[in-house]
């Protein structure tokens, strides 16, 4: 089946050589390329204008908090080749700025507004209301991994009384038996 991946390898190699980028053919109809953030617009334009990747499927962000980076993914589709190309880039999490690309696909405007609100990524020149889903939000951007929803719910909403008698099974059992779980082991206890 490997020779079925001709088209996939073709687009991959084109982008690899033109932009000095890394990338893989993930499987049939799925290709990913990793580019620097200032190359994204040229890669997208190249794919759209010259290789028939005229459909923007979606764009999204992943918070790699441990590595201090946001991963931005632009998934674009060629209706002719039926190949989906992921253009991926990483940006600094502490200074999250990304080029505004809604001139290439207008619908990116919505995705960028969402990412601005949910991850706090700035897109200089982006037109559109600051508020997308949220209203009067003054916490850290909520889709960031370090935003604690449980904590937020506790302090924001009224907790209806009547359930304080709930018991933790593991803890109840240790009370019954006198078992003492050492501190270093509790991370393996049931949540």
């Amino acid at each position: 089946m490997s020779n079925d991946l001709v088209l996939e390898n073709e687009i991959l190699n084109l982008i690899k050589s033109a932009f000095n980028a890394e990338g893989n053919v993930i499987k049939s109809r799925r290709v990913e390329v990793f580019v620097k953030k200032d190359q994204v617009s040229s890669v997208l334009l190249f794919a759209k204008e010259q290789r028939g990747y005229i459909h923007l499927s979606h764009s999204t962000c992943i918070d790699w908090i441990e590595e201090g980076e946001f991963e931005l993914i632009y998934s674009i589709l060629s209706p002719k080749d039926k190949i989906m190309l992921y253009v991926k880039t990483r940006i600094d999490r502490d200074n999250p700025v990304m080029e505004n690309l809604d001139g290439i696909w207008h619908q990116l405007n919505t995705y960028e507004r969402e990412m601005r609100e949910m991850y706090g990524i700035e897109f200089p020149g982006l037109i559109g209301d600051k508020e997308f889903c949220l209203e009067d939000w003054d916490e850290i951007p909520p889709m960031r991994r370090d935003f604690d929803t449980v904590e937020f719910a506790r302090k924001t909403f009224y907790q209806r009384p009547g359930r304080e008698d709930a018991k933790d099974v593991r803890k109840t059992l240790t009370e019954q038996s006198g078992e003492k779980i050492p501190d270093f082991a509790t991370k393996y206890s049931r949540e």
Partner: protein, 367 residues
């Protein structure tokens, strides 16, 4: 005399869509100059919640992305997890999944009939189709235990096997619905009011459609044959015989024609699936859900729903919870940027009519 520009708010509650969403219009007289979509009335932070639940627990919220058609969400997520883990799905489960997909499509089309005719002021048909939809929901109740939210398709297969007598009951329901469809069409497509309201309204230009991000029936209504079930067959769609209808014009009428034919294709697919379904396992058991980890990786799976392509971009970091699940719904483009373009120059009275034909589902936008 030049008319003054006014701002008009449609929504958050209005009949054009399933869910709450507000469209802010700038109009002069009766004509729309521009529009902008405002969401946030439904925001339940599903994507965030999924990140905090383990791989199996997540599957119970997925269906709540979209009330009219919850099942494609479950399937798309299940397929993404299976692909990440490399888990095989038994053949029988694949057939059952396709059947569920088409039943879901069917009942969603019945809601569309109600919405599309209702927003044109034709209320009789809506009563009929929503009433008849209950017969499909009866099937779901029998199969899954739930009527609207099924929580039935999960990674590894489906949750329970077909109950006894299900096949017979389904075939009977299909026969009944097929007969009723003729009566629906007499009420809608043969109706001058609908024809005059729908033709030439809400036009998406064919040459722009793909670039605008249009998918599903609206794209096929532009005469472009595009359907994930054909383009990238999943489960057992490649073993089934069905056509993907298209229509020319790009207007509400064309989209309605496409759906009119698709609903018959769904019935045909359900019959084929029930006929060809093999015996055997229906579930490739996952490990204890509390300790189930998925290898690190990222995948994108897509499924054709009534509204168009639904996709899940799922990233795993190798732990027992998803790192990120991004849900791409058709409404994300249809309801915001495409809507803005389509509404330009239309009448105020057509807004909900157009919204309905685009299949906008606000929870897909906010997630």
């Amino acid at each position: 005399m030049r008319e003054k520009e006014t701002t008009l708010y449609i929504g958050p509650q209005h009949p054009g869509i399933t869910g709450n969403m507000m469209v802010k219009l700038k109009v002069t007289g009766d004509t729309i100059i521009s529009s902008s979509t405002h969401v946030g009335y439904l925001h339940r932070a599903f994507e965030k919640l999924i990140e905090q639940r383990n791989w199996l627990q997540s599957f119970t919220i997925l269906c709540r992305f979209c009330v009219p058609e919850p099942d494609p969400m479950e399937l798309t997520y299940a397929r993404a997890v299976e692909e990440l883990e490399g888990r095989e799905v038994p053949e029988r489960a694949k057939y059952i999944r396709v059947m569920v997909m088409e039943l879901a499509r069917l009942q969603s089309f019945m809601l569309w009939y109600a919405g599309q005719s209702g927003s044109a002021g034709l209320y009789t048909l809506g009563q009929w189709s929503v009433g008849d939809r209950n017969y499909v929901l009866d099937l779901f109740e029998m199969l899954t235990g739930g009527r609207v939210y099924h929580m039935y398709i999960w990674p590894g297969g489906v949750r329970r096997d077909l109950p006894e007598g299900f096949k017979e009951k389904t075939l009977k329901t299909m026969d009944y619905l097929e007969k009723r469809l003729d009566q629906y069409n007499q009420m809608l497509f043969d109706n001058t009011i609908f024809q005059k309201r729908a033709q030439g309204v809400g036009v998406i230009p064919k040459d722009k459609a793909i670039e605008w991000g249009v998918v599903g029936a609206p794209l096929r209504g532009c005469g472009i044959k595009s359907d994930v079930r054909i383009d990238e067959p999943y489960e057992v769609y490649d073993k089934l015989d069905f056509i993907v209808p298209t229509a020319e014009g790009g207007d509400i009428w064309a989209r309605a024609l496409v759906r009119k034919e698709e609903i018959r294709q769904s019935i045909s697919i359900i019959r084929q699936v029930l006929d060809k379904m093999p015996e055997g396992e229906y579930y490739n058991r996952v490990p204890n859900p509390m300790k189930w980890t998925i290898p690190a990786g990222q995948v994108y799976t897509r499924t054709e729903s009534v509204r168009g392509e639904i996709g899940f971009y799922v990233a795993s970091d190798g732990s027992d919870k998803p790192r990120r699940v991004h849900v791409k719904g058709a409404a994300y483009t249809h309801g915001v940027t495409v809507l803005d373009k389509v509404l330009k120059g239309q009448n105020i009275a057509d807004v909900s009519f157009i919204l309905n034909s685009l299949g906008v589902c606000p929870p897909e936008i906010e997630r």
